[in-house]
Amino acid sequence: MIDKSDLWIVIIGLGVGSYFLRFAFIGLVGSRHMPPWLLRHLRYTAVAILPALVAPLIVWPAATDGTLDPARLAAAVVTLTIGLITRNVFGAIFAGAVTLYALLYLLG
């Protein structure tokens, strides 16, 4: 269970930190130039963190006590494939969910 005081530390800390990230350049840096190497790294933050967050959830799902689950693995592969081909977030979620439910039902 999530500890309530920790939760508020996270909410407020994340709120202040996120605001600072949004304000940093437009508020503080103004029209000064940004070093290209910094912008280059910032470009990859989302694709660097999000796969690292989901990969263990896909390979070792908590719902199956950490054993590889064919239904969940297949759903992940379908979601990513449809997402890459169609570039459509909803289409990918829908395809992944259908795959997951179909396989959970079939594999019982």
Binding site: K4, L21, A46, P51, V54, A55, I58, R72, L84, V89
Partner: protein, 243 residues
């Protein structure tokens, strides 16, 4: 006199143009917010806490990251560092909006900074690039127009999700809603070979480093993947120039 009367309706129309530009994003943000509300209440947060999360942080992917790590009982400092790392792209948005909006008074910049989101950034920059002759007041009006339908939808849908959250049965396998949503959000971001390199390194390192204490594997994987993406970009650019 005629100058001011002519100017005001003009800004109105720019605002509404922005509003129409931002409206399609409601269909992305809405379900994402409902899902956050559902998962947050499933993790034990009450409606107030869930709503506070969305209003204070106003960043979906970072909120999901924090929620997931808190449920795994990761140390608070790791939760904050990881979720902020997900949000580092906001600094990039802030930087790339600066040439367009940086001349606004500080208080306006401080106010609009809160509303820098994936959606408002995407909506506004497309317009600014297409219409370089826009004046600063027009750019501001357009930005807030983009934000106007998106942010209320974010709050309201979080609330709806939090209210229905406790009634969702286990058989819905909602544990997997988060991985599927993140994969679906990620896929369109993999635009260049360098992005693919970053994502690949991220997956590989996170699985190899899963045994690290305090969920540190996520941060290690994130930092290495970021560097790999940046290095790959330099490499691919150099190769392109050599040809």
């Amino acid at each position: 006199m005629s100058f001011t009367t002519a100017k005001t309706p003009d800004l109105h129309s720019v605002f509404w143009r922005g509003f129409r530009g931002g409206t399609p994003f409601v269909f992305v943000v809405g379900p994402f917010a409902v899902l956050f509300g559902v998962l947050a209440t499933e993790a034990g947060l009450n409606i107030l806490e869930t709503l506070a999360f969305s209003v204070v942080v106003i960043a979906g992917a970072a909120q999901f990251t924090a929620l997931q790590l808190m449920a795994e009982e990761a140390p608070t400092i790791i939760v904050l560092a990881s979720a902020l790392a997900v949000n580092l792209r906001m600094a990039m948005y802030s930087a790339s909006l600066t040439p367009y909006l940086g001349a606004a008074p500080l208080w306006k910049r401080a106010f609009l900074a809160y509303f820098i989101l994936d959606q408002s950034y995407a909506c506004a920059t497309v317009e600014y690039e297409a219409k370089p002759q826009m004046t600063l007041p027009e750019r501001l009006a357009y930005f807030f127009g983009c934000v106007a339908p998106v942010v209320p939808a974010w709050y309201v849908c979080t609330y709806i999700g939090a209210v229905i959250g406790t009634q969702v049965p286990d058989s819905w396998a909602l544990d997997f809603a988060l991985p599927i949503t993140f994969l679906a959000l990620m896929a369109p971001m993999l635009r260049t070979p360098a992005h693919l390199v970053a994502a690949f390194v991220s997956i590989l390192v996170s699985l190899l480093a899963a045994g690290l204490p305090y969920s540190m594997g996520l941060l290690v994987a994130g930092v290495l993947a970021m560097m790999a993406g940046a290095q790959a970009e330099v490499l691919f650019d150099r190769r392109k120039q050599a040809q």
